[in-house]
Amino acid sequence: MCFGIEIELPEIEHVVSFTDNGASAWAKTFRIVALLKSGSEQSYFLKVGTLQFSGAGEIALLNVTSHK
């Protein structure tokens, strides 16, 4: 992922879960639970913009374990 602003995310050991958290007409939302290097778990809310769903042809692959 490429951030539009400078941010500091904690170092992630691995992603515990990545679950669908609902969709609207123009966005999908997900919950990411990550185990941090510090040993604690952190939950993130991810919203992905979609103005329309075509479903065909355009598949985005997001490797959530190596986004740094």
Partner: protein
């Protein structure tokens, strides 16, 4: 763990709307931190330059439960009062980025009076309306009267004869679908803002 999203290109508007959501949430977070889930950032997928995202802290919310009216209104009033007192917008009405109500971009250009901002935002909405639905002569005939008589007569007294409107940060798209309570303590939470500095009683210009 590769995750496949059946995601299509969102283009410029998708990027700007998620940036607007981040900036709006951050602005509220700076005034009343526990009224929104903490925002973290926004950006674009490295492997899919047309796919954009917003990321924040995940909060467990009871989305079907409306917040208590008393607590909710106290928090909302705190947002308006503290932001107005902060004078962060330098007395101006607007916002520093474009925000979206759904897929509709809002006109947030800074204005030095509430009347000017309201007229500019409403004119913008009529342009969007014409782009979406075509010209409507009956409506067009009403607009000069609306902009030159009705709005000035209603809004100008708020800012003349010693009266002033202190710009307050408003949520910008406040309705029951954008409010919930936190699972752990029933505290009211708002989300999906499209904030701007406004008259504190303004919900949004129009969409």
């Amino acid at each position: 763990m590769p995750v496949i999203l059946d995601q299509v290109s969102t283009g410029h508007h998708g990027r700007e709307s998620l940036k607007g959501e981040y900036e709006s949430t951050l602005a509220i977070y700076h005034i009343v931190p526990d009224f929104v889930p903490k925002p973290i950032g926004w950006g674009t997928y490295s492997l899919s330059p047309d796919t954009h995202f917003y990321i924040g802290e995940f909060r467990n919310l009871l989305v079907d439960e409306l917040p208590s009216a008393t607590e909710f209104c106290e928090k909302l009033a705190m947002l308006h009062i503290k932001s107005a007192a902060s004078r962060q917008s330098g007395g101006k009405f607007g916002f520093h980025v474009t925000t979206y109500n759904g897929n509709l971009p809002q006109e947030n250009t800074w204005q030095d009076s509430w009347e000017k901002f309201f007229i500019s935002g409403l004119k913008h909405m009529f342009i969007l309306n014409e782009e979406a639905g075509g010209k409507c002569e009956e409506l067009e005939n009403l607009l000069p009267g609306l902009f030159e008589k009705v709005i000035p007569r209603l809004l100008r007294p708020l800012e003349t004869n010693g009266n002033t409107v202190a710009p307050a940060l408003v949520h910008g798209n406040l309705w029951c679908g954008n409010a919930a309570v936190r699972l752990e303590d029933d505290a009211p939470i708002v989300f999906d803002p499209s904030s701007f500095w406004a008259h504190n009683e303004c919900k949004r210009i129009l969409s």
